[in-house]
């Protein structure tokens, strides 16, 4: 019906304003998922199946909290209590793993389907501030309050043998930031991608994943809290605490713009307060920004105009995501959602466990969805014409027993028919014969009578 994939925006705030959910094209608000106060980078949609968010805790709390919402109900459905407060949360694109960064600098790696904690490792000296997967989900990039950015090959993390051999687990460790890392994005291109990190030291740094070196350092007039990439990696957008979204050149020509700031080729501005988070919708080609004043602004990056505003809450918005609309979030059939989610076996997974289960230190099994991605009955093919052709071939060769059998059957029936025919002929003959004899005898009688 709708040729264009519908996109929705989800957003959350550090003050409990719930998770807002809007249709990006029409601007209508869907459900508001209740009781969520998330830290920056703490809200994710897990494989588009459900929403998960880490929660801000009061500093004395001994354990953290991660909450799940299903798309169809506003209430929190699953509560998990990890070992320590978790700030950034990220899931791989398939939604099979959930990774959280702890206050202590540990990274926790859970399997979503079973809730098992598969791995936990010491990643940074201080709290992990952001986490992001690379394009192919095989590398994890983490940033920390101590200013370091590290790239973790996940395979290595799970390879106990290598872990003992290697001096360090990470592939790269970038130490050039002097203050807390606030945001990280990774670009397109597999091993050849770039990583952009923003920090409270008022710089954004562009790193090469393949070479592990700093490619570009860009100094901004204010602290940058969030960055997002233009899909063509022509520029990247950096949301600053001065309320502006700065546009910094990557592939773009920056020399033609007269600016005091190297590589910065422009800015989008209208925010009165800090820009806290950014997202880019490739579908509609718009830029979304969340601000400390609780508004979400949708920008046309071409004209620098605001095309739409969503009001989220009084408190600062600190997470925005743009997603394709999940099938289960359909306003016209909300009542069917429960039934359909049950049918698809998509009830929410069990809560995440706190500790690594020492009983099965080796992962013995994996909970796997073997559901067909596309259930098209038309794919089922009919085979009778094939079988017929095989049989015809067999018949023509007349070699097989089955073919011979059929021949025999056929001959038997032929024989039977012939026999019947023979009988009939015989009978006719007899009749004729009788008739003739009768005629002759009658003639004789007549003659003799004469």
């Amino acid at each position: 019906m709708n040729t264009k994939m519908e996109e929705i925006v989800i957003a959350s705030s550090s003050i409990d304003g719930g998770i807002g959910c809007w249709d990006l094209q029409t601007g209508t608000e869907h459900l508001r998922y209740k009781s969520c106060a998330s830290p920056p980078h703490g809200l994710i949609s897990v494989g588009r199946r459900f929403l998960a968010s880490s929660q801000l805790q009061d500093p004395k709390a001994s354990s953290g909290a991660i909450l799940y919402w299903s798309w169809s109900r506003p209430q929190v459905e699953v509560k998990c209590f990890p070992e320590e407060p978790i700030k950034p949360l990220v899931a791989n694109s398939e939604g099979t793993y959930l990774v959280g960064g702890g206050l202590s600098g540990n990274i926790y790696f859970w399997e979503v389907a079973t809730g098992r904690l598969l791995k936990k490792w010491r990643a940074h000296y201080r709290a992990v501030s952001c986490l992001v997967f690379t394009e192919d989900d095989s590398l994890l990039v983490s940033g920390s309050e101590d200013g370091s950015v590290r790239v973790w090959p996940l395979l290595m993390i799970f390879d106990d043998y290598q872990m003992e051999q290697a001096s360090q687990l990470y592939e790269h460790s970038f130490q050039e930031h002097t203050l807390r890392v606030t945001d990280i994005v990774t670009g397109y291109g597999g091993g050849n991608a770039i990583i952009i990190s923003a920090s409270e030291d008022r710089t954004c740094k562009v790193w090469s994943l393949s070479k592990g070196i700093l490619l570009r350092n860009i100094v901004f007039p204010s602290i940058i809290d969030s960055v997002t990439l233009d899909p063509g990696e022509h520029v990247f957008y950096a949301g600053g605490r001065d309320g502006k979204i700065h546009i910094a050149a990557l592939g773009a020509d920056s020399s033609s713009i007269k600016s005091h700031w190297l590589h910065i080729i422009g800015s989008l501005s209208s925010h009165s307060k800090n820009v806290t988070c950014l997202a880019y919708s490739t579908n509609g080609n718009v830029l979304l920004s969340g601000s400390e004043d609780g508004m979400i602004r949708v920008w046309d990056p071409k004209t620098h105009n605001i095309v739409r505003v969503f009001k989220h809450a009084k408190g600062p918005v600190n997470n925005i995501h743009v997603l394709n609309r999940p099938a289960y979030l359909n306003p016209r059939s909300l009542s069917n959602v429960q039934a359909s989610s049950r049918r698809h076996g998509l009830s929410l997974p069990p809560p995440l466990s706190k500790y690594i289960n020492t009983m099965d230190e080796k992962v013995v099994s994996a909970a796997v969805n073997l559901q067909a991605t596309c259930n098209n009955p038309l794919d089922a093919s009919c085979i009778s014409s094939q079988v017929i052709n095989c049989q015809i071939k067999e018949l023509q060769q007349q070699g097989s027993a089955a073919a011979a059998e059929m021949e025999v059957e056929k001959l038997k029936l032929d024989r039977m028919q012939s026999l019947q025919m023979l009988q009939r002929w015989k009978k006719t003959y007899d009749n004729l014969h009788e008739f003739c004899v009768d005629e002759l005898l009658e003639g004789d009688n007549v003659k003799s009578a004469n």
Binding site: D137, N375, V387
Partner: protein, 868 residues
């Protein structure tokens, strides 16, 4: 009316169809009077019906006479078929023909007719499955036709209930066929019907689950059927859990199969492996505290000693059960299941690690004959184990992560042992799967192994066939002799040395084409997925190898596919497949990111161009695609997805700020301007002589100016530039001192010039590029030209490449300019001397950077906020 009866407009005329049906009925379709003399008649009827869509009458009921006539003729058609099937007096061949045609009718007729009469047709055909006296042909035909009917029925969502009850009637007769001693063809038909029922109406089988399972497994255990039928049985066994559709039945089915396979293997591998394997398997499969069942499906899991025949049948059923596991892992299933990955992998490892040698702990119990028997059967087992591994990778997708390292080690280990071509091909395909599923992360792990193995398999010297390989590759790749000077690892001689060593060690025999194709495929995937990251150690080796192979395989012209027509087996791989695989891998090697321009671009382009001319072959198709893909390498472009203002109005911006003519951010590099060549020159690795030589031949402008030393002309140019009012040091640090004429700056420039004593600014090209720029605002650059690559030079563009390794050339240029511009911008408010200062700084900066100090950029840039 009468005319429409006689005159047909064309072959698409609707009026033609009923007439064709009637003709078929009159002449070809048998009945009591019409004899059925040749079976080929049947195939003619079917092809006529299918190609003309004779039975798909439109369902609209307007009073169109033609449609009415069509309908009535289809009615006649169906009546005739039913009479053929139901009369007891018809001969079996006519009955068979009737059933076959009814099966085709089930597919071809329109939906209304099908829904109206499927039940009646079903009943008619079912009697033939049930009846004892019918011929096998009739039974097989009835099975397939019913299966097609059910398949079609499953496509209608509103008849689920009727479908289920209908399919339920099939089960008992099919079970009877399975349990009777039917012939293979009948069994195949019955199994096919069963599979259709399970996948279309799974609920039907719920009550019969156990009996069906028993029937199928007993057939697998008997082991006396053809491989084809056995595979179908395994497939059906894998489908069975769907009939219940819950997690438990899937897991229990999987567990049973794994226990059985492990049990059988324990007997088969006695003496060839350690004896703890069975216990290990049980530990992984059976929950703690429980004991494994002694027997499954009436078969003992562990037997001590059975005769050879029994062992043979056991081996066969082990293979089939493994196949069944594969199917279970890759088929869809309605709910989430927990796959016992560990025990699956343990099983794979167990099989792969047995190579027929006696384990050291074995006593001399094992007789020689026994060992010989196992060795003869091992390749099949290994092949199925690899198949299972592939299915595990496919089935559990991203969840493989915790096990990936284990698999990598297993694959590496097996690569070393494996020699049979068929198995090697499978290992290559598994590495491909791994690379695709786990991306760059696993490429780091696997790269070396894949490269080593494929170098071994693809080595042209090992092949007696390619005699010229050595000389050819020497000819083709001159730069690599010089490359050694620079300490690059991938010298061709080293490669040959290595290969030479291997020649002695390996059994000198050419690799099969199919293995080569598989190796090329693996290399292609490796380059696709992990070409950029940590690839320095193997990249040049692989690039060389691939261009050599591609040239070699295409040297003797292009093999056409025609010879394949008469080969009995379609899957036979020939030289043309090798060419295609080589070209595929070559394209990947060119496109895969690396620090330098692809060294073999020119010969590769030549190959692709030649290949494209072979119209109508796969090679030509692929070459056309390759040329398209490579076009981006020749004309690099970085077009923004968003219509970004500064990019779209780029030309305009340049007109507004004419001083920027030197600040070339090459948005759309123009290969025809000499500026572009030079930029490329500066950027490409300075030791890449092949590229340079290729480049040199196409460029004449540079040579005459390169040697002349003229200090005046650049400044002249610059004065011209000044005339255009340049407020900033718009170009390079090396130039601005001369413009200002300050002695310290000149001194530093002198130093620079002494260092690279043939360095100069090519003013001619400057002007040239300036003109070009004004016309098209396309690329041109400040550059230094050096006669001898060994002389150290201050080369702005190469400085750029070190400073900023973003692969886009434009970015690099832009960034240099921006650095300089930004700097002087920051200082512009101060007096005239600062300009010199900044210029000087620029110079030193450049020199420093020439000394590989990559840190200098952040340092310099950090000046900015301070001065602000």
């Amino acid at each position: 009316m009468a005319t429409s009866e006689t005159v047909i407009k064309d072959m698409y005329d609707v009026g033609l169809k009923p007439r064709m049906i009637r003709t078929l009925l009159k002449e070809d379709v048998p009945d009591d009077k019409i004899p059925f003399d040749s079976p080929s008649k049947l195939s003619r009827i079917i092809s006529c019906i299918q190609s003309h869509k004779l039975l798909s009458e439109p369902s609209i009921t307007d009073n169109n006479k033609q449609v009415e006539r069509w309908k009535s003729s289809v009615n006649d058609w169906v009546t005739r078929l039913l009479s053929l099937i139901s009369k007891t007096t018809t001969t079996p061949d006519k009955c068979w023909a009737g059933i076959c045609l009814l099966g085709v009718t089930c597919q071809e007729c329109n939906a209304d007719r099908f829904l109206g009469s499927y039940a009646a047709w079903f009943d008619k055909m079912l009697t033939h499955i049930q009846s004892r006296g019918d011929s096998q042909f009739v039974k097989v035909a009835a099975c397939t036709s019913i299966s097609d009917l059910i398949t079609r029925l499953a496509g209608f969502p509103n008849v689920k209930k009727e479908g289920t009850s209908l399919a339920g009637k099939v089960i008992q007769p099919v079970l009877k066929l399975l349990n009777e001693d039917s012939s293979e063809a009948v069994l195949e038909g019955a199994i096919h019907l069963l599979c259709t029922v399970i996948s279309s109406f799974p609920a039907t089988l719920q009550r019969h689950h156990e009996s069906v399972e028993a029937a199928i497994t007993s057939k697998i255990f008997s082991g006396k059927f053809s491989v084809n039928l056995m595979k179908k049985l395994a497939h059906c066994l894998a489908l069975l859990p769907k009939s219940k559709g819950d997690e438990d039945s899937w897991i229990s089915a999987m567990r049973k199969v794994l226990l059985l396979v492990n049990g059988y293997l324990t007997e088969i591998f006695t003496g060839l492996e350690e004896e703890t394997k069975w216990d290990e398997a049980v530990r992984l499969l059976v929950p703690p505290g429980e004991v494994p069942p002694p027997s499954l499906w009436g078969q003992k899991l562990l037997e001590d000693n059975s005769d050879k025949e029994r062992k043979r049948s056991k081996l066969c059923s082990v293979s089939m059960f493994m196949l069944s596991c594969c199917e279970m892992l890759t088929n869809s299933y309605p709910v989430q299941v927990s796959v016992p990955v560990r025990s699956l992998l343990a099983l794979v490892e167990r099989v792969l690690m047995v190579n027929g040698s006696l384990s050291p702990t074995t006593s001399s119990f094992v007789i020689l004959a026994e060992q010989e028997f196992i060795c003869s059967e091992l390749p099949v087992l290994h092949s199925y184990a690899l198949e299972l591994l592939a299915s595990v990778i496919k089935g559990i997708r991203s969840q493989l992560l915790p096990h990936a390292a284990y698999i990598v080690r297993l694959v590496k280990e097996y690569f070393k042992r494996c020699e049979l071509p068929e198995l090697r091909i499978k290992v290559y395909s598994i590495t491909k799967l791994l690379l695709m599923s786990m991306g760059i992360g696993i490429a780091i792990y696997l790269a070396q192994e894949v490269v080593n193995c494929s170098l071994h398999d693809l080595n042209p010297i090992l092949d007696g066939t390619s005699f010229h390989a050595n000389a050819k590759s020497e000819l083709l790749l001159p730069p690599f002799h010089r490359k050694r000077k620079h300490g690059a690892t991938g010298s061709l001689e080293q490669l040959h040395d290595r290969i030479g060593l291997e020649v002695e060690t390996s059994k000198n025999r050419p690799t099969a084409i199919s293995v080569k194709i598989a190796a090329l495929g693996a290399l292609e995937t490796l380059l696709t997925v992990g070409g950029g990251l940590r690839s320095e150690s193997w990249r040049s080796k692989v690039d060389n190898l691939l261009i050599t192979i591609a040239t070699e395989s295409c040297k003797e012209g292009w093999v056409s596919d025609e010879s394949k027509t008469f080969l009995p087996n379609e899957s036979t791989l020939t030289c043309s497949d090798l060419q295609l695989a080589a070209l595929h891998a070559l394209l990947a090697s060119l496109l895969s990111p690396s620090g330098v321009r692809p060294p073999h671009l020119a010969p590769a382009l030549e190959l692709f161009r030649r290949g494209r001319q072979e119209i109508g072959t796969k090679v030509s198709e692929f070459c056309a695609y390759a040329l398209l893909a490579l076009e981006v390498l020749i004309h690099p472009r970085a077009l923004p997805l968003a219509d970004f203002p500064s990019a779209s109005s780029f030309n305009e911006v340049n007109h507004r700020f004419p001083e920027n003519i030197y600040s070339v951010a090459q948005k759309h590099s123009n290969p025809y301007s000499s500026g572009m060549h030079d930029t490329g020159h500066g950027l490409s690795d300075s030791d890449d002589d092949l590229y340079k030589s290729w480049l040199d031949s196409s460029k004449e402008t540079e040579a005459p100016v390169g040697k002349s030393m003229d200090t005046e002309r650049p400044s002249e140019t610059l004065r011209v530039q000044q005339g255009e009012n340049i407020p900033v040091a718009g170009s390079s640090g090396a130039k601005s001192p001369r413009r200002n004429g300050h002695s310290p700056a000149a001194a530093s420039a002198d130093i620079e010039m002494r260092r690279g004593d043939e360095t100069m600014v090519d003013s001619q090209q400057l002007q040239e590029s300036m003109e070009q720029h004004q016309e098209s605002s396309k690329g041109a650059s400040i550059h230094t030209v050096t006669g001898d690559p060994n002389v150290t030079t201050v080369d702005l563009t190469s400085f750029a490449s070190k400073d900023d390794a973003l692969n886009s050339r434009d970015t690099e240029m832009a960034s240099v300019q921006a650095v300089v511009a930004g700097e002087s911008d920051g200082l512009a408010t101060k007096d005239g001397n600062t300009t010199t200062l900044s210029a000087q700084k620029g110079t030193t900066f450049a020199i420093e950077d020439d000394n590989q100090s990559t840190d200098s950029l952040p340092d310099i840039v950090d000046v900015d906020p301070d001065s602000d």
